[in-house]
């Protein structure tokens, strides 16, 4: 349908995820009938109802307050297929991807500076690695590089438990980006517009003045230089200034 192309109703935010098994955002918005059955069966109260806005009434997992614990109870209850019924394995969920910010992650800071630049001067656990310890898919989704600092792997399903437990405040050192966020075909109107402008400027032919300095055209110009015969006469397009001799 024509609605496939409609991008006005896309609304992604960091650490705000669809329940596990959600189909892509556009189909989800069409199929979700706001029955809130997923909310009711969630044993951890992870799934919350979206407030005022274009997505009002649809389910979200707000990873910062309560993450998804991948019990997969909501998927099989969805009456319209907005959540994939056949999904039963937590490892196959794709709610998003986590990303560590090294500039505020305690482990990364400790490795770089040997201290934590904390104003309260309290010694907080230097190698915290909480995200590694709480991850339900250890070694698939996250690993400890050199047994020292956490690194996200391809298997991350975006459940957000690491975000919930990350000790840094106010910003979390680890964040989950929901699936679909940053995808060009699903991104916002202005992002796509800017992207097309960027693509056009990349593929555009460089200007002639820059072209003259390279390759064949440079050789051609050099061959034209000829010392035999008369020097070419220049006609200045302006009146020649008369040089006076009393400079020295």
């Amino acid at each position: 349908m024509a609605s496939r192309q409609n991008q006005l109703f896309h609304d992604f935010a960091m650490n705000r995820l669809r329940p596990p098994g959600a189909v892509d955002e556009q189909r989800f918005m069409a199929l979700c009938i706001r029955c809130n059955r997923c909310m009711e069966v969630c044993p951890y109260n992870s799934i919350k109802r979206a407030g005022l806005g274009s997505t009002i009434g649809t389910p979200y997992v707000f990873a910062e307050t309560k993450a998804c614990y991948l019990c997969m109870a909501c998927c099989r209850l969805c009456p319209t297929g907005a959540l994939d019924k056949d999904l039963k394995v937590p490892a196959k969920v794709s709610m998003g991807k986590a990303r560590i910010e090294p500039s505020i992650c305690y482990s990364h800071l400790f490795l770089e500076h040997d201290v934590i630049p904390d104003e309260s001067l309290e010694k907080i656990g230097a190698l915290c690695n909480t995200c590694y310890n709480v991850c339900p898919l250890q070694e698939k989704a996250i690993t400890l590089r050199d047994n020292l600092y956490p690194v996200i792997l391809e298997g991350c399903v975006g459940c957000g438990i690491c975000v919930e437990r990350c000790p840094t405040r106010p910003r979390r050192a680890i964040n989950v980006f929901p699936t679909g966020m940053g995808r060009v075909d699903e991104a916002g109107f202005y992002f796509r517009k800017a992207r097309t402008h960027f693509d056009v400027s990349q593929t555009k032919e460089p200007a002639d003045s820059q072209k003259a300095l390279g390759g064949e055209s440079l050789l051609e110009q050099k061959f034209r230089i000829d010392s035999s015969g008369k020097p070419p006469e220049f006609k200045f397009p302006y009146e020649k200034p008369q040089i006076k001799g009393d400079w020295d």
Binding site: M1, Q26, A30, N36, M39, V41, G57, T80, G81
Partner: protein, 279 residues
């Protein structure tokens, strides 16, 4: 006498809205969902208008979508707008509002109940609600979002009940229901069910020869058969049952049947089914 039975079922359904989330808190998942879509054991039941929206918004027909409307449409074909008249929590509250209006509002507004119905006449009301459904469905298809779900009053009520039980708060949509009830109390009585409700519109479309309906036995149905017009004054849909008893607006509540002193109104439709079976 249908009224006590009807009030009982309405009250039970009204309580069900609150009981389901309480059961779910104790991790009993026999009944889950709201009146957008509810699940009894394994039987999935969804509001047909909601599913219609989803079909147009997603642009696809899938098995779970179709399966969930089988039971409500079966009920509609058998018993007409049984959901509206006997189960819908909105009509239950709406009738309470009408009662309140008859006690308090009329004296303040100095109007008779029939004089201030929005969309006078059943035909106008039908046109209004069907065009509302059509426009909403078209909009859902155009923008890819089931828009009529945002204003589905009974479903919003059950959602709010769940939010009240689970989170001890209400959401923004509660204001919508309150506004609607306020409008019904002060300006237009019965406006939502008569002139807008998309669920009722879809349900009333599924009517066959043997669907249950109210039938009039009076000899000349075009004129009122008694002076009191008792059936007209009780109808929650503001119909004139002596002549419009089989109208698509009728919710089969049976109030007019109870009120008719001469017993000229009765439920019918089943006998056509029997005749069809014999032939």
């Amino acid at each position: 006498m249908y009224l006590p039975y009807r009030r009982t079922t309405q009250f039970l359904v009204f309580c069900l809205m609150f009981v389901v989330p309480i059961l779910n808190i104790y991790e009993i998942y026999v009944i889950t969902g709201t009146f957008y879509a509810i699940n009894f054991g394994g039987l999935g039941v969804a509001d047909p208008s909601v599913i219609l929206q989803a079909i147009f918004a997603a642009g696809e027909l899938s098995v779970p979508l179709m399966a969930s409307v089988i039971f409500p449409l079966f009920l509609a074909i058998l018993l007409g707008r049984f959901w509206c008249g006997w189960l819908c929590p909105y009509l239950f509250v709406s009738e309470g509002i009408d009662w309140l209006r008859s006690k308090v509002g009329l004296r303040l507004l100095k109007k008779t109940p029939q004089s201030c119905n929005g969309f006078k006449g059943a035909f106008k009301a039908n046109i209004s609600r069907f065009s509302f459904l059509l426009a909403g469905t078209a909009l859902a298809g155009a923008i890819g979002i089931p828009v009529l779900n945002y204003i589905n009053a009974p479903a919003i009520m059950s959602t709010e009940a769940m939010i009240i039980v689970k989170e001890r708060t209400v959401s923004v949509e509660f204001v919508f229901v309150l506004t609607l009830l306020g409008i019904q109390l002060v300006i237009f009585p019965k406006i939502w069910c008569r002139a807008f409700c998309p669920t009722g519109s879809v349900i009333s479309l599924f009517r066959t020869r043997f669907t249950m309906r109210v039938d009039s036995k009076s000899r000349n149905p075009s004129v009122p058969c008694c002076r009191e017009e008792s059936c007209v004054s009780v109808c929650p849909m503001a119909l004139e049952p002596f002549r419009e008893c089989g109208n698509l607006l009728c919710v089969n509540c049976g109030k007019c049947i109870d009120s008719c002193k001469h017993g000229r109104l009765e439920f019918s439709g089943f006998e056509h089914f029997k005749k069809g079976a014999r032939n």
